[in-house]
């Protein structure tokens, strides 16, 4: 990670209120360029990973299809609604992989090797740098396969979403993404306490597994925990319900937004708390 060469110029313009934003956008563009260069170094491997992700996606679709060969509904959810749900879950998960996954899993490595010291010294927000360091381009390609499945399912359901509905769906997906990111970042920050936090981060994969299940399958304490404590059940269900016109009340999107803000706030508090305690591995 090289500090941005334009740093000083940007600093000089700090009087304009847009300058910090522009500076961070410029930095992010540089990080993207780095990632593209790095990925293109291993082209065949890059393609094979796409095959792996496609296979797992097909597996999830198979699971639901086989279940629906024995039943015609799970709670209120019909087959194609669930396919739409699995597609949307894959879409959000792949965008998450593209933007954040590697960065979150690498945090414990940065702490263990003392590389974090160096990042703390750079004149940028450290959380920004840790969260956005690398981009995994394969994620975007896999997200495209998820979009294809969603379009197919929407046609089977004879949905004709308006532009406003699609915009609303994408906005809610972004809010869901914020929940995934905040929770995973929070888990990754546990590595300030234990060195072996990779197992904990890996554990988040299990939560992705619940995200693609229809919420009507659950009730009682399980649903309460994964709605109000770790709001994974909202992440995909709420955007898809908007698209499939299944929303029971306008409070559902409001709850999603509120929980996302709460998760982000919690992760920021925990991050600051952890940093204050950080004593560095190298000294």
């Amino acid at each position: 990670m090289k500090p941005s060469p334009e740093r000083d110029d940007v600093r000089a313009n700090d009087t304009s209120s847009l300058a910090p934003l522009n500076r961070y956008l410029g930095l992010y563009a540089a990080l993207w360029k780095n990632s593209v260069t790095r990925e293109m170094g291993f082209k065949s491997n890059f393609l094979l990973w796409i095959v792996v992700e496609l296979l797992w996606f097909a597996l999830q679709l198979t699971f639901m299809t086989v279940i629906y060969s024995h039943t015609d509904h799970i709670g209120t959810w019909t087959k194609w609604e669930v396919v739409l749900l699995v597609g949307a879950a894959h879409f959000i998960q792949q965008i998450f992989t593209a933007l954040f996954l590697v960065n979150c899993t690498q945090l414990s490595e940065h702490i263990r090797t003392g590389k974090l010291d160096f990042m703390l010294l750079l004149p940028v927000n450290t959380r920004f740098l840790v969260s956005f360091r690398q981009v995994d381009l394969g994620g975007f390609i896999n997200a495209a396969s998820a979009v294809a499945v969603m379009v197919y399912a929407a046609r089977e359901l004879q949905l004709a979403p308006s532009a406003a509905q699609i915009a609303g769906f994408l906005a809610l997906c972004a809010v869901g993404l914020l929940i995934h990111y905040s929770l995973m970042f929070l888990l990754a920050a546990i590595s300030f306490w234990t060195v072996q936090a990779q197992g904990i981060v890996y554990g988040y994969y299990n939560l992705f597994n619940i995200a693609r299940m229809p919420d009507a399958a659950f009730g009682g304490p399980f649903k309460a925990v994964f709605t109000f404590v770790l709001p994974i059940l909202l992440v995909v269900n709420v955007p898809v319900k908007l698209l499939a016109k299944k929303l029971e009340s306008p409070w559902e999107p409001a709850l999603l937004l509120a929980m996302a803000c709460a998760c982000f706030a919690a992760s920021e508090l925990f991050w600051r708390f952890s940093l204050r305690r950080y004593t560095s591995a190298s000294s």
Partner: protein
């Protein structure tokens, strides 16, 4: 033989370092398991009769037994370590020592499974206790003996398949993708996602010509008493054949790979 027991001892000490990780992993693993069980409960609530011959109790028991078999047999880090040993040239030392690499890896695998099962048994036992109304016990002694035998062979088969996959490192630099592709097939075909009999009959029958059902589905169905009498002994015989075939393949791939081996960094 004694030296391999010693290796198991070393392996146990080495894996004990990861006990917290193991515990977290088994605990986290219970979340999707709970979700799957609740999903099936919702499906059974809204319908009359069973699903492909499974009552709700049998369906839930299937997933619980599968979790136990998985804890006893799943390969954790072994394949990554073998691949790294080859890539970094660490296997050179085994070529000059009177230690067989396959037996060495199997000792470490056994040690790893021992510790993992010991650590995971607490959360899994509590989980099963909470679901005791849905948990069926084996019908007779034959089911118990058959289950023990088939789990042991499932472990052998699982190890040999992973071992052989990792040996591909002799030819390609990055085996992780190949391992994940095989793992995806295995996840469906061994019965991790659901009991294979709920698949369309043609698909389920076709899968029985592959070794995958013998990694998980077969031991579980022995436990549940779905394979009894001749079917049980026939199944065990086929499973044993797959183990022998996998062993022969592992030895063959090793002998080919070692000719290709250039001892990088060794």
């Amino acid at each position: 033989m004694e030296k391999y027991l010693h290796i198991i001892g070393i392996g146990i000490q080495r894996t004990l370092v990861y006990r917290v990780n193991f515990f977290a992993r088994s605990l986290f693993g219970l979340i999707p398991l709970t979700a799957t069980i609740l999903l099936w409960q919702t499906i059974y609530r809204d319908r009359i009769g069973d699903v492909a011959g499974y009552t709700l109790r049998q369906m839930i028991s299937y997933y619980l037994i599968a979790t136990i078999v998985d804890a006893l047999t799943a390969v954790a880090e072994d394949d990554w370590q073998i691949a790294a040993d080859i890539r970094d040239g660490n296997i050179s030392q085994f070529l000059v020592k009177p230690i067989d690499y396959l037996a060495y890896r199997f000792s470490l695998y056994s040690a790893g499974r021992l510790i993992y099962t010991a650590v995971a048994s607490v959360p899994i036992a509590i989980f099963i206790f909470c679901l005791r109304d849905y948990f069926v016990l084996p019908k007779d002694a034959a089911a118990c003996v058959g289950f023990a035998l088939s789990v042991a062979m499932a472990g052998l088969l699982q190890f040999l398949i992973s071992y052989t996959m990792a040996l591909l490192s002799f030819w390609v630099l990055e085996v992780a993708t190949f391992i994940f592709i095989l793992f995806a097939f295995e996840y469906l075909a061994s019965g991790h996602l659901f009991p294979l009999d709920i698949l369309p009959p043609v698909v389920a029958q076709a899968l029985h010509f592959t070794p995958f059902p013998y990694l998980l589905y077969f031991p579980v169905s022995v436990y549940l008493g779905q394979a009894t009498g001749t079917a049980l002994w026939q199944g065990l015989a086929i499973q044993a054949t797959w183990v022998l075939a996998a062993y022969a393949l592992a030895r063959f791939v090793w002998s080919r790979g070692i000719r290709k081996y250039a001892a990088f960094g060794g």
